[in-house]
Symmetry: C2
Subunit: 153 residues, 2 copies
């Protein structure tokens, strides 16, 4: 019995079922995405950083910005960026106005790698969502957002 059946059959609390289902489904989705990147020796985390930097449209990002936007908390963004620098996909410079900060930008080489990966990733995303219609995807997104809504205490 795999976990999928397990969740469906066992008499688990509805809340417990949800937390397990969330973990399991996210991992399933991440695995598909990661395998699309694998041949380019890029981890999903590294890819996400590149994507954030591209979204900056030239404007550099510092580490705390990256941390905020990162999908999974990289408690250690420094070392993640180190790896991307070693591959020459991003560049690092000290922020001139505040020397505590560091400015990270994506290189041309990084941009062209992203361009190549865009197709592979869209395909993976299509694959992941293929069982739902647009309406259901919206619904799912909304429920996930609502789940995380802050309470005011």
């Amino acid at each position: 019995m795999t976990i999928e059946e397990h969740i469906k059959t066992k008499t688990l609390g509805i809340a417990q079922k949800l937390t397990i289902n969330l973990s399991y489904t996210a991992q399933w989705s991440n695995d598909i995405l990661a395998s699309a990147l694998k041949s380019h020796d890029l981890s999903l985390q590294q890819f996400n950083v590149l994507r954030i930097l591209r979204g900056q449209k030239g404007k550099p990002a510092n580490l705390s910005t990256l941390n905020e936007r990162m999908v999974t908390k990289a408690s250690n963004t420094t070392r993640l960026v180190d790896k991307l620098i070693k591959k020459e996909l991003v560049a690092r410079a000290t922020c001139p106005s505040n020397r505590r900060k560091v400015e990270i930008t994506i290189t041309n080489s990084g941009l062209s790698l992203l361009k190549i990966l865009d197709t592979a990733i869209s395909n993976a995303e299509e694959k992941i969502t293929s069982q739902l219609d647009n309406n259901e995807i919206e619904q799912l997104n909304n429920l996930l957002n609502k789940l995380r809504t802050e309470t005011k205490n």
Copy 2:
């Protein structure tokens, strides 16, 4: 801008939004669960193994069974079990009928730890799902299941 706002505001593809949202929400949920276990020095993975073993109701489980049922793939269940053995929460024995296999059972000490943790975990689960009513939780579970439905190719 945190990732939450990012997802909502940016013009991302709907499928891309979903994959990011899934990762992010699962991590958010796991963090809450993990912090409920922290004071007992148990990782979420270790807790899940204990819970699976309790579900066996005395019947021992072997490593491949654990692997199948584990929420996140522990590509290395051996070492995870090692840690639980060191804490005397589970016991390991060679399967008498097939000496390749290993039989893992939860100890009394493991059972009583689980009993203590049950409350902490239910509270955490309540906290995680507090923004949704039962109907919405069901809906969310169903959408997650549908998302992972196998296609026949």
